[in-house]
C-alpha cells in the first residue's frame, strides 16, 4: 500500500560545478528552489551550502539520487559527493533517502516524458513557478545547462513524494 509522504522534503542534485535543490512542503507546494554554484573546493562548498539549506528549512528528509543503483549514470566525483551528502545527513541527524534514476524516470513515464527535457517540461507545468528556469532543448554541441539541476532535484522530490518511492 502506498503511503503518501507528509513533511518537508529537500532534494539535492549535484552537477559538475553547481548543485540544484528544491524544498517541497507538500506535494504541490514549493518553498524554495535554485542552483548554487560551487566553482572552487567543490565538495566542501557543496556540503557547506547543503548544510546551510538544511539549517534554514529543517527538512524531514533529504532526497538524493541513488548513485549506487545500476541505473545511475553519474560520474565518480558526483557519486562520491552524493555519498558525502548522505554522511552529512547522518551527522546532523536528518533522514536521507535515495531514489534510483530508473524509479525517477518511471514516475514520469505516465506523463509521456521519457527525456530529461520532457521531465523538466512536465514539472514546469505542475509547478509554474519554475517554468521561467526551463532551459532550451539541448543540442549535441551544448554543455548541460546548470538550470537542469533544479528540475532534476524537483524530479527526485516528486518521485519520492508521489510514489512513496524510496530505498535506504
Amino acid at each position: 500500500m502506498k503511503v503518501s509522504w507528509e513533511g518537508r522534503v529537500l532534494a539535492v542534485d549535484p552537477m559538475s560545478r553547481a548543485f540544484g535543490f528544491v524544498v517541497l512542503e507538500t506535494p504541490e507546494s514549493l518553498v524554495d528552489w535554485g542552483v548554487r554554484q560551487t566553482r572552487t573546493d567543490k565538495q566542501q562548498a557543496t556540503l557547506a551550502k547543503v548544510s546551510e539549506i538544511v539549517n534554514l528549512y529543517r527538512p524531514d528528509v533529504v532526497v538524493v539520487e541513488d548513485c549506487l543503483h545500476e541505473s545511475s549514470r553519474r560520474r565518480e566525483r558526483i557519486r562520491i559527493l552524493v555519498e558525502a551528502i548522505v554522511r552529512l545527513g547522518a551527522e546532523i541527524a536528518v533522514d536521507v533517502r535515495r531514489i534510483p534514476r530508473s524509479v525517477m524516470v518511471l514516475a514520469f513515464a505516465d506523463a509521456g516524458a521519457p527525456t530529461k527535457h520532457g521531465i523538466a517540461r512536465a514539472l514546469a507545468e505542475r509547478f509554474p513557478e519554475v517554468a521561467r528556469h526551463l532551459p532550451p532543448i539541448r543540442k549535441p554541441w551544448m554543455a548541460e545547462d546548470d538550470r537542469f539541476a533544479i528540475f532534476d532535484a524537483l524530479a527526485l522530490a516528486v518521485a519520492f513524494v508521489d510514489r512513496g518511492a524510496h530505498s535506504d
Binding site: E6, G7, V31, G34
Partner: protein
C-alpha cells in the same frame, strides 16, 4: 513520518514565484538595499508590522499565511494564556468566600 511545523515565513517562496529579486522587493518596501529582505527571508529578523503588511500587499497573500509559522506560535501562546485567564475569571466569579483574599482583589 513527522508532521512538519510551518516555517516562520514564506517570503522567499512568494518572491521567487513573482520572479522578483531581493533588491526589487527592497525597492517596493522602501529599503535602500536587499539586506533586510535577506534577513527576513532567512528568519534572522522579524519585520515590523508595517513591513509585514507591505509584504502581504505586494504578494497579495494574507499576513497570517505569509508568516504562518509565527502566526501558529503566537496563536498557541495566546490560547494558553487565554485558558489561564478563563480559569482566573472563573475563580473570581466564585467570590471571596471560596478563596482567601489578596490585595489584588480590591
Amino acid at each position: 513520518m513527522t508532521s512538519t511545523r510551518r516555517l516562520p515565513n514564506y517570503l522567499r517562496a512568494h518572491r521567487k514565484r513573482m520572479g522578483l529579486t531581493q533588491k526589487d522587493v527592497a525597492f517596493v518596501l522602501g529599503y535602500i538595499s536587499g539586506t533586510k529582505i535577506s534577513r527576513h527571508e532567512r528568519y534572522l529578523r522579524e519585520p515590523c508590522l508595517r513591513t509585514a503588511l507591505a509584504y502581504a500587499a505586494l504578494f497579495q497573500v494574507p499576513a497570517r499565511e505569509l508568516f504562518a509559522g509565527i502566526h501558529e506560535q503566537v496563536a498557541a501562546e495566546v490560547e494558553k494564556r487565554a485558558r489561564l485567564l478563563a480559569a482566573q475569571m472563573t475563580e473570581r466569579r466564585k467570590g471571596p468566600a471560596s478563596r482567601s483574599c489578596s490585595p489584588d482583589d480590591l
